[in-house]
Amino acid sequence: MRRAALIALPYMWLLALFFVPFLIVAKISLSDIALAIPPYTPTLDLSRGWAGLRDWAAGLDFENFVFLTTDDLYWKAYLSSLKIALLSTFLTLVVGYPIAYGMSRAPTEWRPTLLMLVILPFWTSFLIRVYSWKAILAQEGFLNQLLLGLGIISEPLTILNTNTAVYIGIVYTYLPFMVLPLYAALEKLDDSLLEAAEDLGCSRMKAFWLITVPLSKQGIIAGSFLVFIPVMGEFVIPSLLGGSRTLMIGKVLWEEFFSNRDWPVASAVAIILLAILIIPIVLFIKNEEKQWESDI
């Protein structure tokens, strides 16, 4: 009895507040925009019984999805998000791997402190960490003042409100999500494997590629998904650091909803984004479950 209650409580919560909302998004994506409250049509009128249900179903169509394919703003936004997400995941991996590697090879008594130093920014407000780059990258900001002062450049660089600033912001804010799983994988690495490889005449570089990288595969996979999937829908970073030409689908969805108040199109944008992300999300969950099962 208690077991059933224990299962039912979180199960019902997730069904009501996670699963059902997606059905509603799917439904509204098939509706049309209307000047009403709520601002779409048709609305389901169950008090009219079957007739109400039939009228409602008859009013649904795929118009919004057709619209998304005809207006190239959306195509470009999806492609540009995909490009930004892929490239920034790669950059985060390149920046994060040496940090995670250095942490895992550090003396044992340093490791808890190093780990805390990575976790601390993770607990600090995401919004504030993105915002902090505004004062650094601005025309008269910290970076330009520093470089001008050192005589490295003679003209201030324009970085804020460009895609470069978006990449910097993403790598910066998502770095802990990459470093933590990488560190977890690298920490388990048995040193004697590397020693054996070196004894057998392997160069250090070759041993790294042949042993360290493959053995940290799970960390690489988990970290990459943890960066790639949320970045695809990122809204805060492009709107604070990017310019008017930075096109990302999360921003388009936001504007469709809050500025244009076109809920059906916003829902259709969300459904397509979800369709793109469903494969990486499923792979991510499978990867996590595999890891836990191997721990048991």
């Binding site: 077991r3 069904l15 902090s132």
Partner: protein
């Protein structure tokens, strides 16, 4: 003791400089008396003073705090139950759907979660306000609590629970007196994680909040959208300080708890 190589020392130094420099710059600028944030004009704490007289910020901070406490508490109860069921509950109908729904919010983009929850609240006729933000935050914090608690449940020795059951404990008693004390550190860090996530969330709160329930991130976002502001720098410095003190304190406390337990286990051992 192994010595750290040059390569590793360099990558750690550069890596941590990259992680911390922006926050340090922000804190330094918060003490700049100039209204032009990046042009230094002398040390001053006036922006902190102005912040504490800004009613709108204080109101938003109060709303945010209440939402965070309630939602992380609910999320801790639900997330712990979910983790326990998944690790110890065996097979049940719809288990895959359950674990999928539980972990998906970890990676699901905020814009999708926010939009879908808002559309739900509107179709059931729930007015947007603190309650809707709490419901939304509980749903995604639950996933984080479940992950943290699951990793602790997986790691601990199951025979302890079984021993309690053999000695005549009911399942509930065994959970209360054996399992819960062992997973307590994970439950507490799950709560803290949910609490910080809720304090921090902009996107989901923007979708699910009403006009009377503006949270601090919504306020900050609308203030910094157009540029840097000295008041926001002061606010950021305060928030960074709170998090730093919080994280260091919890890690010291949990370290003490671990050493204490190890000592007790050593004493109990053969």
């Amino acid at each position: 003791m192994r010595r750290i190589s040059w390569f590793n020392a360099t990558s750690l130094t550069l890596g941590f400089a990259f992680l911390y420099l922006p926050m340090i710059v922000l804190i330094v600028y918060s003490f700049n008396s100039n209204k032009l944030v990046t042009v230094w004009a002398g040390f001053s704490t006036k922006w902190y003073g102005e912040l504490f007289h800004n009613e709108a910020f204080l109101d938003a901070a109060w709303v945010t705090l209440r939402v965070a406490v309630v939602s992380s508490t609910l999320a801790t109860v639900l997330g712990t139950a979910a983790a326990y069921v998944l690790v110890r509950g065996g097979r049940f109908f719809g288990r895959t759907l359950f674990s999928g729904m539980l972990y998906a919010p970890l990676v699901m983009p905020d814009v999708i979660l926010g939009l879908s929850l808002l559309l739900l609240f509107i179709s059931v006729g729930l007015d947007r306000g603190m309650l809707t933000i709490i419901l939304a935050h509980t749903t995604f914090s639950m996933a984080y609590v479940a992950v943290v608690v699951t990793s602790r449940l997986v790691a601990f020795d199951r025979s302890l629970e079984e021993a309690a059951l053999d000695l005549g404990c009911t399942r509930w008693d065994a959970f209360k007196s054996v399992t819960l004390p062992i997973i307590a550190p994970a439950v507490i860090s799950g709560w803290l994680l949910g609490f910080t996530l809720s304090l921090d969330d902009l996107v989901i709160a923007s979708f699910t909040s009403g006009p009377s329930s503006t949270t601090l991130p919504i306020k900050i976002f609308s203030a910094v959208r157009l540029g840097v502001s000295p008041e926001i720098n002061a606010l950021s410095a305060i928030l960074i300080a709170i998090v730093t003190v919080g994280v260091i304190t919890t890690s010291l406390v949990s370290k003490r708890a671990i050493t204490k337990r190890q000592r007790e286990e050593n004493r109990a051992g053969p």
